[in-house]
Amino acid sequence: MELKNKKLSMDEFLRIRQEVLKQWPTGEGIDLEANVAYLKQIPEHKSFPAKLRWAKENGITLAQPRAGVALIEEHIELLNFLDKEGGADLLPSTIDSYTRQNKYNECERGITESRREGRSLLNGFPGVNHGVHGCKKVFEAVNLPLQARHGTPDARLLSEIIHAAGWTSNEGGGISYNIPYAKKVSLEKTITDWQYCDRLVGYYEEQGISINREPFGPLTGTLVPPSMSNAVAIIEALLAAEQGVKNITVGYGQCGNIVQDVAAIRALEEQCNEYLTAFGYKNVYLTTVFHQWMGGFPQDESKAFGVISLGAIAASLAGATKVIVKTPHEAYGVPTKEANAQGIRTTKMVLNLLREQKLPLSVQQINESRMIKAETQCIIDKVLELGDGDLAVGTVRGFEAGVLDIPFAPSVYNAGKMMPARDNDGAIRYLDFGNIPFSDDIKAFNRNKLEERAEFEGREVDFKMTIDDVYAVSKGNLIGRPEVETEAAKSIKKYLYKTE
């Protein structure tokens, strides 16, 4: 089948569906009409779209953790702990790595061994293996809306199962769950497979059931310039809308410069709405998600609380609809449920204190927002041009051409020629443009910003800056200042590292 950004006909969808449901025994007998009946009786306080709409209308930022373990009972206990002890507003089910690779046999072993050892040997909840019955058991045992969060290139069966079980949100997309999560899976394949996931949601919308879809905003979570992640988020939102999705949450991962963070997520929402309108998608209800710092964390928990709080503050000042919460154990991998609840409580405290406050508009923010939108438009325009007007085709060709290019991504289908670095205020800029088709103005702006930093640090604009920036936060700073430097930088460094 040829890739095309066109809504799947019901016939096509049902034809593919027959194959999808055969991928694992738990797919058997999933009945769309029965699902519709089940989904129609879900109470409003357990509907993801309803809670997002309520939050947006009341100017509230919701807090959502990440969490998932192998067994159903333990997973339920974990989720309810995060609700009761953490104060989570929305619940996740983080799906394990085997499920993400569709290795359901290995999940089965993981489940058996987890039962035997009395602890989770999987790094998430194996939703496909537990099937509709198991996923429903989880859904019915919690008191908040539930979402699958994963990183699955082919999430078709998983999506069938979770929605049938009452989970009214699904994270992912044909780009965002491929390029950062896979090495050799083609974009044609993942875009096609996520068209299916979106068409499934579109089907439910046609039956009057609202289900939320969330493109994964942060991508590699490592110095992704806002315009690049915004371009990907907008493309995935448009691809989803084409399949009939009506409730979309576009996401963004914290960069660390507050003005850039606020400008970026506001620009994302505005520009995404503009594109949805321009493409003729009506009545799409758009919300935003802000991810607390996705890069390396400091090992010290007190410092981690500082990083978490800064993320909560930026999310709140930006007016994001929800924030994805980190934990004080971030540097060590999977957190205990107690540490997870701590992260939520810190976040909620900040959100509550700032509930009435948004970052007031400034010249800096207006300029930053304009620049992000201009960069984003350059990228999307070129993608459409490469696709001869077809967004899906253009996306594939855009990655081939390096017009879409995600830093530090594992996929062989990503050019990897673009390189980012922080400017002297900590905002993320383009250091090497690779093949990204920016106007001369935009290129000059980025270059000048980095040259300011280079001059301050007494070194050249160079990939060494990028490397220094990658490790800076885990070492306790936003900007990776060099070893050899000017007097000004030295004086500050003397301070920063005085206790190291």
Binding site: S97, Q101, P180, Y181, A182, K183, K184, T220, T222, Y332, G333, F408, A409, P410, V412, G416, F463, I467, V470, Y471, S474
Partner: protein, 139 residues
């Protein structure tokens, strides 16, 4: 003569950031880096070394399963006739917080020449590789 090294992230691990940075650092230090990327098996490391005549494998593992993924690599190298292959490994090699010396001894016993904790400076690996290959110090 240029010295070739095979670089990659072993197992079902898709952490690409460190891989890109090691690629940059070793290339800049004058090595010919054959980067097989993330999600690479032992077999892929070995065939890349065979094809390119590499003298060292620089292996990363960030997701905690490094111990399982690296087991038997030295033996497989020997079988393939890669007898003097330098095996370097680094990252979050085991699940959770464990005593580093214990981890290091375990990997040395498995036949690795150098073992690095998380957050190591690539420059250290480059210095070690120069020593192990008896290369002259750079200016």
């Amino acid at each position: 003569m240029t010295n070739t090294v095979v670089l990659g992230v072993i197992g079902a691990d898709c952490h690409a950031v460190g891989n890109k940075i090691l690629d940059y650092a070793f290339s800049k230090a004058g090595f010919n880096v054959v980067n097989i990327g993330v999600l690479s098996s032992q077999e892929e490391f070995i065939s890349a070394a065979e094809e390119t005549g590499a003298k060292a494998m620089i292996i990363s593992s960030l997701y905690g399963h490094g111990e399982i993924d690296c087991r038997g690599l030295r033996e497989k190298c020997d079988e393939a006739g890669l007898n003097d292959m330098l095996l370097y490994v680094g990252g979050n090699l085991v699940v959770g917080k464990r005593d580093w010396d214990e981890v290091k001894q375990k990997f040395l016993a498995m036949g690795f020449n150098r073992v690095y904790p998380p957050g190591s400076d690539p420059e250290q690996g480059i210095r070690d590789l120069r020593d192990d290959l008896k290369l002259p110090k750079p200016e």
